[in-house]
Symmetry: C2
Subunit: 164 residues, 2 copies
DNA sequence: ACTAGTGAGTAGGAAATCCAAACTCACCAT
DNA sequence: ATGGTGAGTTTGGATTTCCTACTCACTAGT
């Protein structure tokens, strides 16, 4: 069964297979902002219309977006996030925060998000058990598929034995 | 590269331009796991070698990875995350949590991450000011570039400037 | 010295995707 | 009747990706 060339089974990879194609996350951004109509998406994202149509179909099939009519007589549609789609918003927020921090000088943020608490949103990823902000050093990965090694960063874990 | 008109200025788009190409985030995943050697990356990700080489060059140029020699005599390299790269890890964790929740039935998670607090990591994105978990309804977007609307059908709010 | 093996890539052409503009189709407005 | 809008589809060429094979530098075994 297993060819000598099996990538690592991983939810990140699976998620990206759905949502990692070009423009998909930007579609989600617009849709979360409430701009769910086809021409708005074309304009705000700058994607070719055919590519956009393909993405939208895929995202609807995946249950991330839903297509709803906002007008019956001249049939007009609007895409909106499903619950699953909304739950991807944190990914967008985290990515935006990273971009703001590392890709822009100073404070020229093109968009600011306000939290209901009254302040600008500065998202942090925390452990939902202890509440601490997650940091790389505090994490240990446990892959469960057999045969995969997760070498510790500086930790000598000489389990290099990967029987083909 | 022919960047098509990118209408909405946005840090999400900018971040994705760097890190949103196929395999880039998987490279980061492996590198954060400590598997930074070329052939490891090829095996664990399943990417063609030439594409991988291109991605690595781009990520190094962008300051997300750095290439360090772990052996001089037979020159051998290893890619490792920079600080900027490590700060992308929360994006991966958030994406993984989403994939675990929405793409997998039950508990067949291919990888479990343990937090230093002793529990399995279930990441949550929170407002770093008030500490609450962010939810879509609690957010208001303020785009600052002129001419862009963030239409909300019920949210026809005059998007005043952010209080200074 | 002569093989074989490994790590880190390049080279080349077929296959898949992407892009921009033009086109459709259905409806509404003048 | 003509023009306009929304939501796509078609078309055909330009890019990217994919995949196999190849190189290059070095080491290990005999």
């Amino acid at each position: 069964m297993a060819a000598p060339k099996d990538p690592r089974p991983c939810s990140i990879a699976d998620a990206l297979a759905l949502v990692g194609e070009k423009y998909s996350l930007l579609v989600l951004r617009e849709v979360c902002l409430g701009n769910g109509r086809f021409d708005q998406l074309v304009r705000n994202i700058g994607a070719p219309r055919d590519v956009l149509a393909t993405r939208l179909r895929r995202l609807v099939d995946a249950g991330i977006l839903e297509k709803s009519a906002y007008s019956e007589r001249p049939q007009r549609f609007e895409y909106r996030p499903t619950t699953a789609g909304l739950e991807l918003e944190p990914v967008l927020l985290t990515l935006m925060a990273w971009g703001d921090r590392h890709l822009r000088k100073d404070d020229d943020r093109p968009m600011v998000i306000e939290h209901i608490c009254g302040h600008e949103l500065l998202p942090a990823v925390t452990c939902s058990v202890c509440g601490d902000t997650v940091q790389h050093e505090d994490l240990t990965a446990h892959p469960q598929a057999p045969g995969w090694t997760v070498a510790g960063p500086a930790e000598a874990k000489p389990s290099q034995t990967v029987p083909s």
